[in-house]
């Protein structure tokens, strides 16, 4: 890195302005609101830690944290590994790779209004295509998103989220692979043991910065999961069972359906802290495996 530090300030100035003008006040304000009772209309009333205590004492909060934690645990590794593998395959000398790349990107642009309907149908217990396939193989049908077992529901939804997100991660890694010189790539065509070595020892290290990016972004988006749940369950008012809740659904419900901005802000900032801890954890290990240049 270069020593002329003042250039660093000049280059990062736009972002600093962004933070000071557009982010600082909303952060301060919504944190303040988390210590008050505010219905969006009357003046906020200071109630100290009440919201935080009440949220932390609520069963639904801990259920939602458990869910989003497990959701991330399933989603992040699958998404990251698949994105890398697909990007690698689609960077090979194969036919129709442009078309394949488009195909794997399509879910990213497919709106939930369409994706949700199709997945709900595929997961349908009695009439869905997945259970139809299981039954034709002589297996018992499975309750996916309507299971009474939360783990089954959360895993099923995590898979749908991979479907939705893997294309975006793939593209980031693909962009990173353009920095890998051609000769290296050619040498790493899948051709058995030697190619595998090339892949893990040469190609992978060179794209680790992008893989790290994908991991961090996937973790954050997993903890903030919202759209995928609405895509599969419809809306909050249709009564998503408590055991399938995630924090952002609770925040939305409290803030915009019940006009209880205090608990909503407390929940939201608790989630923020959890995500931050996880990201710092990942950042701590960054040096051990991410190679910059």
């Amino acid at each position: 890195m270069q020593k002329q530090g003042y250039w660093g300030y000049i280059f990062t100035l736009p972002f600093v302005v962004n933070v000071v003008v557009f982010l600082l006040f909303p952060i301060v304000f919504s944190t303040y609101i988390s210590f008050t009772e505010w219905d969006l209309f009357n003046a906020p009333r200071w109630i100290g830690l009440d919201n935080w205590v009440r949220v932390l004492n609520k069963h639904e909060f801990w259920v939602s944290i458990r869910n989003v934690f497990v959701f991330a645990l399933i989603f992040v590794p699958i998404q990251t590994i698949m994105a890398f593998v697909i990007a690698f395959m689609l960077n090979q000398a194969i036919r129709a790779k442009g078309l394949f790349r488009l195909f794997y990107f399509l879910p990213v642009v497919t709106p939930w209004i369409a994706g949700g309907v199709v997945w709900v149908w595929m997961f349908n217990y009695q009439y869905g295509v997945i259970n139809w396939a299981l039954e034709s193989m002589g297996l018992d049908p499975v309750k996916w998103i309507d299971s009474s077992n939360w783990l089954m529901v959360i895993s099923s939804i995590a898979i749908v989220q991979v479907w939705k997100g893997v294309g975006q991660s793939m593209i980031m890694i693909l962009a990173g692979m353009q920095n890998v010189p051609k000769e290296v790539l050619e040498a790493s065509q899948i051709d058995g043991a030697n190619g595998w070595k090339q892949l893990t020892k040469v190609v992978f290290p060179m794209v680790t910065p992008m893989v790290y990016l994908v991991m961090i972004l996937s973790t954050i988006s997993a903890f903030q999961a919202f759209d995928v749940f609405l895509g599969l369950f419809g809306s909050i008012t249709t009564g998503i069972p408590e055991r399938n809740m995630v924090p952002n659904l609770l925040v939305y419900r409290d803030a915009f359906l019940l006009f209880k901005m205090g608990p909503a802000s407390a929940t939201a900032w608790l989630l923020f802290v959890i995500i931050l801890v996880f990201t710092l954890f990942q950042k701590y290990f960054e040096k051990k495996w991410v190679h910059y240049d």
Partner: protein, 276 residues
């Protein structure tokens, strides 16, 4: 070792890719085909993939229901400004974070990471207060101004990409007598093309699909964006075919931008003659 892949492995790879593709593409195809169905044919499950008869009425209905031309123009106007702002500012800030050592570097980097996690649901209302205070409600400013100040997502992406470029690049440029801005614009920006293309697609997608921002800040119907206009279709219990036609209209521009950008982020850097 020869540089060719073992044929059996190749077959396996194609097989994997094709099976995966079916899952990936199916909902999209379903959306396309439903948008062309008559009401009676919608609910057939498993669905018929090629609707018979083809019913283009849904598109005609949308055309007639909303001010299609104006909304599309508005959307393209906002999105193109946001794209320019976001691409340049993200790369600019990322270059600063990746290339220089300065005291607050670590702090700014951490803040950048942290802003990715800000709970937007509870900061939305105070952000609205800011724009109200600026007197900028019912205008495009709340939508486009922030993009010129570098968003965390873009900065992070560009930062990771720039960091994976060889260091020697910068040093050799300094020897040639370039100033840091010169190095950024002349050397790094062109080299960032693959990442910029990817970021361009994401920015376009985000800006194009943003309905919450326009919904909250725009009052005047003349200013509406296309996706916001299409939300009106959801108002009543309209049939699914019409909804899907709306979804197709929202989606297609993103697909086109993707197809355009795809060439950029896969056309290798190998031609720039970097070290091996």
């Amino acid at each position: 070792m020869t540089k060719t892949t073992h044929p059996l492995l190749k077959v396996l790879m194609y097989l994997l890719l094709i099976v995966g593709s079916v899952f990936m593409v199916f909902p999209f195809i379903w959306m396309l085909s439903t948008s062309l169905k008559t009401v009676g044919a919608i609910s057939q499950m498993p669905p018929q993939l090629i609707p018979n008869p083809m019913n283009w009425d849904n598109y005609v209905t949308i055309w007639n229901k909303i001010d299609f031309g104006r909304y599309t123009m508005n959307s393209f106007f906002i999105v193109s400004i946001e794209m320019v702002g976001s691409l340049v500012s993200s790369a600019f800030v990322a270059f600063g974070l990746a290339m220089f050592t300065f005291r607050l570097r670590g702090l700014i980097y951490m803040i950048m990471l942290a802003t990715l996690m800000i709970p937007s649901q509870v900061t939305m209302i105070p952000t609205y207060f800011i724009w109200k205070e600026f007197g900028a409600l019912n205008s495009y400013y709340p939508l486009i101004v922030p993009s010129f100040l570098g968003g965390a997502f873009g900065i992070f992406l560009m930062h990771q990409f720039i960091k994976s470029l060889p260091k020697e690049l910068y040093e050799s440029a300094t020897i040639d007598g370039c100033s840091p801005p010169g190095i950024f614009f002349k050397i790094y920006l062109p080299l960032c093309k693959p990442a910029l293309a990817a970021l361009g697609v994401f920015t376009f997608m985000g800006a194009w699909n943003n309905t919450l921002g326009p919904l909250i800040y725009l009052q005047d119907k003349e200013l509406y964006t296309l996706p916001l206009g299409l939300l009106y279709l959801k108002s009543e219990n309209v049939n699914q075919a019409l909804l899907m036609a709306g979804a197709v209209i929202t989606t297609l521009p993103v697909v086109m931008v993707y197809l355009f950008a795809q060439k950029q982020f896969v056309q290798g850097i190998a031609s720039t003659g970097m070290k091996g």
